[in-house]
Symmetry: C2
Subunit: 365 residues, 2 copies
């Protein structure tokens, strides 16, 4: 496609200005007219979106993408649907960008209910003035992330808002996946005695974003964990088919996720402070900002509740995958204090881990 | 649910301040903390979203909604998926609001490919400071529109951005529908000689929004046509199973839609200016603002390409439905000037109808 090369700096058409070639489109920005549904919208679609996200369904450019799922549904599959708004600032951070996040956030929500992610839709709300090269770069990262996660972008939409009425770029993705017959994850299966596992260290994503935003000087050392969890969870479910439920501890961190599990299942949870895996540099950054790593967002971790007798198999399966090497047993489900999460502290005490009230870390995903 | 009544002004808890009861929550606004994924997010979900949009799938509150579509797929159905960002300003306008628009825009895109709309997801990007009563009102309108269109909201997400980084509220919806076996609408079926029909008057939505925004004084007379088209199109397809393709002339208006059809099908289109249905008050408003009604957005109209021999049946079916009473034959598909839309003017001339370049009317949907 001829438009493909036009946002590639190396291949860009140049204006010769007295022997000084200028890559003119590098200064091009998104305007309100790009959101008008006319020729400029088409130009943006052909130059930016289709090269990065195109596939046969999207290329048909109908009002809605049409996909075949008959064979999967015939084998007992059900449809899983999830949606996520992404408003992270800055748009690019150590270890990722809003592009990867928009894919991973939604893909992982599908994975948490046991679905195999298949399709994605993407809505872009762009603030007038965003450089088109910035947009192209972020959409390219999004396309690469979608390919890596095995999902096809089958529908999209773009709107442009005036300067000062948006914040660069918001991406809203919706994911569609197939839950295979026989899979029934959920709070209803959780029992006292079950074990609570997390697949790796906590707080990396939130502190990677914050370290840039607050110029903490940790930028080189703290990297977002943003990653698609479909393969990790497939390995877990293969090793431990009796897995009760899964949640990814994103906004609100582990504290919010454990409270959601306790409330949804009507059980108590006890975790060991000494078991909570936090990288020292992340712990140091949290301390500088007065944050609790338990409430900081993750974008590539899963919390699993598994039967006690399968916990060793589950941990082994997680640790055998690159995204689960630091998996640990966090604690257990208890029959007491239904709906409450308790932490056994390092010094032998106990404290309640409350559901966070609001946002210690706004605009983190 | 105890939270249900809390955003109902009549049933609101009041603070007694020296005999002067204040409905305290009427002053409540959305804060960044409401987007943090903690207790305040849960509160917003329980008070605002679930009362208006709740259904058994959403009420399970898993990371992704799970739905059954096996019986429809077994009968040859395929999945249609569409997404739309809604950034209209003002949020409420004559004949509708961003709430209805967020449902109708996405439902109608499904309908245009012949799908029966089934499920919707909703992402809300809220600017800090939006009054919660405003949000509740808009979400209630959205819920009513979803019920009327026969779609269940099966997943949702909310993010909050700082004051000055958004514009009140953006809603991104994704729709999922089932295309019944045997339905294959699309540009590939369009033939020279086919007839182009539109289901009613043009420009009502765009000018309803503009008349408020520009204080034209037409507010009482121009009303958005925002409506779900599933029943109208079902009637059309029943009467005219050979219908070639459908498009809804939203952003960019009829001009953009006809150009899209001409380009996609590789055909020419000729329409008669005298046949283009525009209400006199809409035409007057367009003239005041220097706009062409052909480029103004509609949110409750369908353009259909049908075989000439079925055109009378198609028109009769449309006119028998309340949303299609003003349906007319606009023109026809011609073998010449592929990709070009020509207008036969009232005075006997001919002019080309170009694809609009950009946005005469920003933030219209």
């Amino acid at each position: 496609m001829s438009g493909t090369a036009r946002h590639d700096a190396d291949a860009s058409p140049r204006i010769d200005v007295g022997g000084c070639p200028l890559p003119h489109h590098d200064r091009e920005v998104v305007t309100l007219a790009h959101g008008g549904g006319g020729a400029l919208t088409r130009d943006l679609i052909e130059r930016v979106f289709l090269p990065a996200l195109g596939n046969p369904v999207l290329l048909r450019r109908e009002d809605a993408g049409i996909v075949e799922i008959a064979s999967e549904v015939a084998r007992g599959g059900r449809l899983a649907v999830s949606t996520d708004c992404h408003v992270v600032q800055p748009l690019v951070f150590p270890g990722g960008s809003i592009g990867e996040l928009a894919v991973h956030g939604t893909v992982n929500d599908l994975v948490m209910v046991g679905a195999a992610p298949r399709f994605l839709t993407a809505g872009f709300v762009i603030e007038e003035g965003l450089p088109i090269t910035t947009l192209s770069g972020l959409v390219a990262r999004m396309g690469a992330a979608a390919s890596a996660a095995g999902v096809a972008v089958v529908a999209g939409d773009t709107k442009v808002v005036e300067r000062g009425r948006g914040d660069g770029l918001a991406i809203v993705t919706t994911g569609i996946g197939i839950v295979p017959g026989g899979i029934a994850l959920g709070a209803a299966g959780v029992r006292a005695g079950d074990v609570v596992i997390v697949s790796g260290t906590l707080g990396d994503h939130g502190m990677a974003v914050m370290s840039v935003r607050e110029s903490l000087g940790f930028e080189a050392d703290i990297v977002s964990d943003s990653a698609p969890l479909h393969e990790l969870v497939a390995a877990l479910l293969a090793a431990c088919p009796a897995t009760r439920m899964l949640r990814d501890p994103t906004r609100g961190g582990l504290a919010a996720t454990l409270n959601e599990i306790a409330t949804a299942a009507g059980v108590g949870i006890e975790i060991d402070e000494a078991a909570v895996p936090v990288r020292p540099v992340v712990a140091a950054a949290c301390e500088m900002l007065g944050l609790d790593p338990l409430t900081v967002a993750n974008e590539g971790k899963v919390v699993a509740v598994v039967p006690a007798e399968s916990a060793a198999d589950a941990l082994a399966a997680l640790r055998a995958h690159p995204l689960g090497r630091a998996a640990v047993r966090l604690g257990r489900i208890v029959p007491d204090h239904a709906g409450v999460v308790a932490l056994a502290t390092r010094v032998g005490g106990r404290r309640i881990v409350p559901l966070p009230i609001g946002a210690d870390l706004p605009r983190i995903c």
